[in-house]
C-alpha cells in the first residue's frame, strides 16, 4: 500500500496535472470539471488530516471546503456556461506547444536553486513542496494566458487551491477557524465574480477579455 507521504505526493501531482490540463482544454465545462477534481483532492487531504489528528473543527473545514469548491462553485460556473452558451473559451495568448513549453520552464524554475531552500519547510516531502510551487506559478500563468473571463476566474481559484496545497505540504495551514473564514471569503468571491461575468455578458456581450476594450477608448 501507499505510505502517507506517497499519498500526499500523489495528491500534489494530481493538483499539478489538473492545472496543466486547465491550460490545454478548450471547453469551459472541461475547465470547470478540472477545477472540481482539483478541489476534491484538496478537500480529501484536509479530511485525511482531520481524521489523523481527530479534529472535529478541521473536519468541518473539509466539509465546508468540499461544499464551496466542489459543489457551489462549479454550479455557478455551469449555470453561466449554460445561460450564456459559453461552450468554448476564446483561445489562449500563446498556442498549445508554447503554453506547454512555458509550463515546463516554470516547473523547472520551481525546482531550481532559487526555490530549493524552501524545502526546509517540508524536509521529508521537499519534492512535493516544489511541485506545489510549480502549481502556483502555472496557475498564475493560467490567469495571464487565457483570454476568457471565466478562465481568469478559474485561474484565480486554481491559484488559491495551489496555495492551500503548498500550505498543507509545508505544515503552514492556518488554524481551522481561519480556514473556515478564508473559505467563506472564497465563496463570497465566487458569487461576486459570477455576478460580474453575468454583467459583462449582459452589458458588453462577450466572455473574451481581449474584447473588453471600453477603457481604451477613453
Amino acid at each position: 500500500m501507499f505510505t502517507q507521504l506517497q499519498i500526499i505526493f500523489l495528491s500534489g501531482a494530481i493538483i499539478f496535472l489538473t492545472t496543466i490540463f486547465m491550460h490545454l482544454v478548450h471547453k469551459n465545462s472541461s475547465l470547470v470539471s478540472l477545477y472540481r477534481v482539483q478541489s476534491f483532492v484538496i478537500s480529501a487531504l484536509i479530511l485525511g488530516s482531520a481524521i489523523e489528528i481527530s479534529s472535529i473543527l478541521l473536519m468541518y473545514v473539509a466539509i465546508w471546503m468540499f461544499a464551496v469548491k466542489v459543489i457551489v462553485a462549479p454550479y455557478f460556473f455551469n449555470k453561466s456556461i449554460k445561460h450564456y452558451q459559453l461552450k468554448f473559451t476564446s483561445s489562449t495568448y500563446l498556442n498549445t506547444p508554447l503554453t506547454v513549453l512555458v509550463a515546463a520552464l516554470l516547473t523547472g524554475f520551481a525546482y531550481s536553486h532559487y526555490f530549493e531552500p524552501l524545502t526546509i519547510l517540508a524536509k521529508e516531502n521537499g519534492s512535493g513542496l516544489l511541485l506545489s510551487v510549480a502549481t502556483i506559478l502555472i496557475s498564475i500563468f493560467l490567469i495571464i494566458n487565457r483570454k476568457g473571463t471565466l478562465s481568469q476566474m478559474v485561474g484565480i481559484l486554481s491559484l488559491e487551491n495551489a496555495i492551500v496545497s503548498f500550505a498543507f505540504l509545508s505544515g503552514l495551514e492556518a488554524a481551522p477557524s481561519m480556514q473556515l473564514g478564508i473559505t467563506f471569503d472564497i465563496l463570497v468571491w465566487i458569487i461576486i465574480a459570477s455576478v460580474f461575468i453575468n454583467m459583462i455578458q449582459n452589458k458588453i456581450g462577450t466572455a473574451d477579455s481581449t474584447l473588453l476594450n471600453n477603457l481604451k477608448e477613453e
Binding site: 531552500p117 524552501l118 526546509i120 519547510l121 502556483i136 498564475i140 490567469i143 473571463t149 481568469q152 476566474m153 484565480i156 491559484l159 488559491e160 496555495i163 503548498f166 500550505a167 509545508s170 505544515g171 503552514l172 495551514e173 492556518a174 488554524a175 477557524s177 481561519m178 473564514g181 478564508i182 471569503d185 463570497v188 468571491w189 461576486i192 465574480a193 460580474f196 454583467m199 459583462i200 452589458k203 458588453i204 473588453l212 471600453n214 477603457l215 477608448e217 477613453e218
Partner: protein
C-alpha cells in the same frame, strides 16, 4: 470599548441602510451619524495610544502608534466622503442618473468598506488582516461598477482580478510568515507582537521570500508600479466619494500591512533588504507616473497617477528610514487630506460638466468659483509647493536619502519637477479660459463643498502647526521603521 463602538456602529449602519425601504434622506442621516461616531471613537483611541503606547481591547484587537494614525486618517477621510456623498448623490438622483436602489447599494457597501478597513487596522492577526483587506476588494468592486456602464464594469473586473491575484500572493507570503510559529504556537493566536518577539530562528531565506510575496500582494493594493494598472481605470469609473476613500484611506491601510511585515523581516534579516525593495519600487512608482501624467487626457486618471506617485514617495521615506520614516508617516496624513480635497473637487467638476476628459473642461474658476479655488489649493498642496506640509515631508524624505542614495534622490526630484509641470499644464487648461456657454455657473449644494473647505482648513493648520500629541505619536511610530 471604543473599538467595539466603531465596529458596532458600522455593523448597525450596514444593517439599517439595508433595511431602509424608502426615503433616500435616511441613508444620509445614517451615514453622517455613523461617520461622526467613528471619528469621535477614533479620537478617543488616538488619545489613549498617545498616553499609554497602545489601546488594547483583547489579544486579537488592539491599536499601536501607526495603527492610530491610519485609523485617524480613515475616520477623517470617511467623514468627508460620507458628507460629500450626501450632496453628490442627491444631485445624481435629481438628474435621474441613479435611483433609490442604487443609493441603497452605495451606502450599504460604503459602510461595509469602512468596516473592513477599520478591522484590518485593529486586528492583531495577520490572516484576519488579509481577510479584511480582501473584503475591501469585494465591497468596492460593485462600487466601481456603480454607474453600470460597460467601461465601469470592465474597470471593476480588472480591479477584482488584479487585486485578487495580488492578495493571493500576499496570502502566500502571510502563510510563510506563520513558519515562525511552527511547533511553537497554535496558529490562531499568531499576532504581530508574537511574531516580533519570536523572530529569532526565522530562516533568512524564508523571511525574504515571504516579504517579497507580501510586498507584491499588498503592494498591488497600494498601487506600486508595475502592479498599479487597476488604479487609473478604477479611479476614473468609480463614484468620487469611493475614489477618495480608495486613495485617501485604503492606500494607507495596505501600506500599514506592508510595514507590519517589514518590522518582522527587518528583525530577521536586517533593514537593508526591505529598505532596498521599498526604494526600488518607490522610485519606479514616481518616475513612471511622471511621464504618464504629462500626457494624461482624463483628470480623474491624472489624480490616480498622482496617488501612485505619492505612494512611491512614502515608500522612499520608509526605505531610507530615520527622519525619512517620520516624514513618510506625516506624508501619509498630508497626502490623504490633500488628495481628498482634489478628488472631491473633481467630483464637483464632473457633476457640472458631465465629463472626465480634460479637453472638455474649461473655465472652471468662472463656472465653479468655490470648487475652482479649492482644487487649485489642493493642486498647490499635492505638488509639494511651499509653505504646505507636503513640501516639508518631500524635502525631508529627499534629504534623508541624499547621502546614501544620491542618484535615487536626483531622479526622484527630477520626476517631481516633471509632475509639477505636467499637472500645471492640465490645471491651466481646465481652470482658466472662457467657460462653456451651455453650462450654468454655480455649485450644486453646500454638502458638495463644505467638507472640502474643512479639509483645506485642516491641511493648512497642520502645515503650520503640528499638535504635540500628533508629533509624539508620529515620532514613536517612526522609531519602528
Amino acid at each position: 470599548m471604543a473599538l467595539i463602538i466603531i465596529i458596532g456602529t458600522l455593523l448597525i449602519a450596514v444593517i439599517l441602510s439595508f433595511l431602509v425601504k424608502k426615503g433616500s434622506e435616511l441613508f444620509s442621516k445614517i451615514a453622517l451619524t455613523a461617520s461622526v461616531v467613528e471619528l469621535l471613537a477614533t479620537l478617543f483611541v488616538f488619545n489613549d495610544v498617545a498616553h499609554n503606547g497602545s489601546y488594547v481591547l483583547n489579544s486579537y484587537l488592539s491599536v499601536d502608534y501607526l495603527g492610530a494614525i491610519v485609523m485617524l486618517i480613515v475616520a477623517v477621510v470617511g467623514l468627508s466622503s460620507s458628507w460629500y456623498s450626501v450632496g453628490s448623490l442627491k444631485v445624481e438622483t435629481e438628474h435621474g442618473y441613479i435611483g433609490f436602489h442604487r443609493v441603497k447599494q452605495f451606502f450599504v457597501l460604503l459602510h461595509l468598506f469602512m468596516l473592513a478597513m477599520f478591522f484590518a487596522i485593529i486586528t492583531t492577526n495577520p490572516i484576519l488582516m488579509w481577510i479584511s483587506i480582501e473584503v475591501t476588494t469585494l465591497s468596492t468592486a460593485f462600487l466601481i461598477s456603480f454607474y453600470g456602464k460597460p467601461s465601469a464594469i470592465e474597470a471593476a473586473w480588472k480591479y477584482l482580478i488584479i487585486n485578487s491575484l495580488g492578495l493571493l500572493i500576499g496570502f502566500l507570503g502571510t502563510l510563510l510568515f506563520s513558519y515562525l510559529a511552527t511547533d511553537k504556537l497554535n496558529y490562531g493566536l499568531l499576532t504581530w507582537g508574537w511574531m516580533v518577539n519570536n523572530v529569532s530562528g526565522f530562516d533568512p531565506f524564508i523571511a525574504k521570500v515571504a516579504f517579497i510575496f507580501v510586498f507584491i500582494g499588498y503592494g498591488t493594493k497600494v498601487g506600486f508600479v508595475p502592479m498599479h494598472t487597476w488604479r487609473p481605470d478604477a479611479y476614473s469609473k468609480a463614484p468620487v466619494p469611493i475614489v477618495t476613500l480608495l486613495s485617501g484611506s485604503l492606500l494607507n491601510v495596505a501600506f500599514l500591512a506592508i510595514l507590519r511585515f517589514k518590522v518582522v523581516t527587518d528583525l530577521a534579516v536586517g533593514p537593508a533588504f526591505s529598505g532596498k525593495l521599498l526604494i526600488f519600487f518607490g522610485l519606479v512608482s514616481i518616475v513612471v507616473p511622471a511621464f504618464i501624467m504629462f500626457t494624461q487626457k482624463n483628470y480623474k486618471r491624472l489624480l490616480a497617477y498622482s496617488s501612485i506617485e505619492h505612494a512611491g514617495i512614502m515608500a522612499l521615506g520608509f526605505g531610507f528610514g530615520g527622519i525619512g520614516a517620520f516624514a513618510a508617516i506625516l506624508h501619509m496624513l498630508y497626502h490623504s487630506l490633500a488628495k481628498s480635497i482634489l478628488f472631491l473637487s473633481s467630483g464637483n467638476i464632473f457633476l457640472k460638466y458631465g465629463s472626465t476628459k480634460i479637453e472638455k473642461i474649461t473655465g472652471v474658476l468662472k463656472t465653479l468659483p468655490r470648487t475652482g479655488i479649492l482644487f487649485l489649493i489642493g493642486f498647490i498642496m499635492i505638488t509639494g509647493m511651499p509653505p504646505f506640509g507636503i513640501f516639508l515631508t518631500e524635502f525631508s524624505i529627499m534629504m534623508s536619502g541624499i547621502k546614501s542614495y544620491p542618484l535615487v534622490v536626483a531622479i526622484a526630484i527630477l520626476s517631481l519637477a516633471l509632475i509639477f509641470v505636467g499637472f500645471l499644464k492640465h490645471v491651466v487648461a481646465m481652470f482658466f479660459g472662457e467657460p462653456q456657454k451651455e453650462i450654468t455657473p454655480g455649485e450644486a449644494n453646500a454638502n458638495t463643498f463644505v467638507p472640502i473647505i474643512l479639509l483645506v482648513v485642516m491641511v493648512v493648520v497642520l502645515s503650520f502647526y503640528l499638535p504635540n500629541i500628533l508629533k509624539s505619536i508620529i515620532t514613536s511610530a517612526s522609531l519602528m521603521y
